[in-house]
């Protein structure tokens, strides 16, 4: 069994996407009856040779795409890679595509439209859709310890996938929680937002970079008089 993993975060080796999928793969490897042949590719480093990646795809049984949400869909260069796979149309049937997507905003609902697209995309390639793991609020993940509870869930999901060939709906749901923040939480967020109390991380970064005073800069503000 050949499993090919594309990490399609532009941050490559230092990405949340990779930190997360590693745990899924660990669980997968642990429970596989025979030692699977797993190869992980940081797509951002291979942009000069998509042809070599297509060759790898042709001999893989299962393909995992792990990536962050970028403005409500995939990072542009991943779409670029998908576009080159048009050359393989017809040659991908029998392969299984699995997706692991995550985003910065806390609500997993941010990822659902992209998930619906990925179902369509898999169909257009004639591959089999194995599912999509979705989780919001993940920007800090790459700094989290390996024993963090969320990673345990990804490992568990990987183990069950190795055993049954399916993503367990119960664990998928746990990973996706919160799908939507409850109304009272949103009300509090709204107040905190207006008071500027949700921005600790950004303030710290701005200050560290000596850019705090320029935080509200509007470099492209139209220079002509208001219409």
């Amino acid at each position: 069994m050949r499993l090919l993993v594309f990490n399609a975060s532009p941050r490559g080796a230092r990405s949340n996407s990779l930190a997360i999928i590693k745990h899924f793969l660990e669980g997968f490897e642990y429970s596989s009856r025979e030692k699977p042949d797993i190869e992980t590719v940081n797509l951002i480093n291979e942009r000069d040779d998509y042809a070599a990646l297509r060759e790898k795809l042709l001999v893989a049984d299962r393909v995992v795409f792990a990536f962050p949400l970028y403005v409500d869909s995939m990072p542009g260069f991943l779409m670029e890679f998908f576009e080159t796979l048009i050359l393989l149309k017809g040659a991908l049937s029998g392969k299984e595509f699995l997706f692991s997507i995550q985003c910065g905003f806390p609500e997993t609902l941010n990822l659902r439209p992209l998930e619906r697209y990925l179902v369509r995309l898999t169909g257009k390639f004639g591959a089999a859709y194995a599912g999509c793991i979705c989780r919001g609020g993940m920007e800090g993940t790459r700094y989290m310890p390996a024993d963090a509870p969320i990673f345990r869930k990804y490992r568990e999901l990987g183990r069950i996938y190795a055993e049954t060939g399916k993503l367990d709906p119960g664990i998928l749901g746990e990973i996706a929680n919160p799908e939507k923040l409850p109304r009272p939480v949103m009300l509090i967020a709204s107040v905190l937002g207006r008071m500027g109390l949700m921005n600790g991380y950004w303030k710290k970064q701005l200050k560290k970079n000596g850019a705090y005073e320029k935080r509200h800069a509007r470099p492209y503000d139209p220079t002509h008089l208001p219409r």
Partner: protein, 182 residues
Amino acid sequence: MRVTLLNGAAPDSDAFDSYLERLAGNLRESGNTVSEFKLRDLVIGQCIGCWGCWTKTPGECVFSDDTAKIARSAVDSDLFLFASPLVLGFTTSLLKKTIDRMLPLVHPYLAVRAGEIHHRKRYRKYPLLGLLIARESDTDDIDISVVKEIYERVAIELATRLAFFGSTERPAEEVAHEIAGL
């Protein structure tokens, strides 16, 4: 009105290009301003997710390429019109790479918008968003609804709303008329 038009078509998209020429021509004839960017002829790098545009050089990407011109033009427009043939049921990677680079237009700080957590506005005013697509031979209603749903969300991210969504099956004159009336 002022329109910033992004042509996201891949090379050799003559029919699409000439449709956009007719559209821009019509808009100009009726007194509108159109700034067109043919993305395939520009230098547009992939966003690397460094947050520099929010925390190092607020409002500007730390890499300078043609996306700065696009962002500047967009802020000075009434309509930010994305145009792209569908490829694999989605807009092109050229357009997507460009959109990823529009992050500096908003602020890192968070706010509640449309009942969800999003980023605060950086500018006082944002252009309306429009999306013009061309169908592929196998495009169906589900493809269309998926693309539309994603771009409705893109609009929220860019502190605006999707005010136009249409395809090149409609005559350019008609689309120009609708856009001019927004």
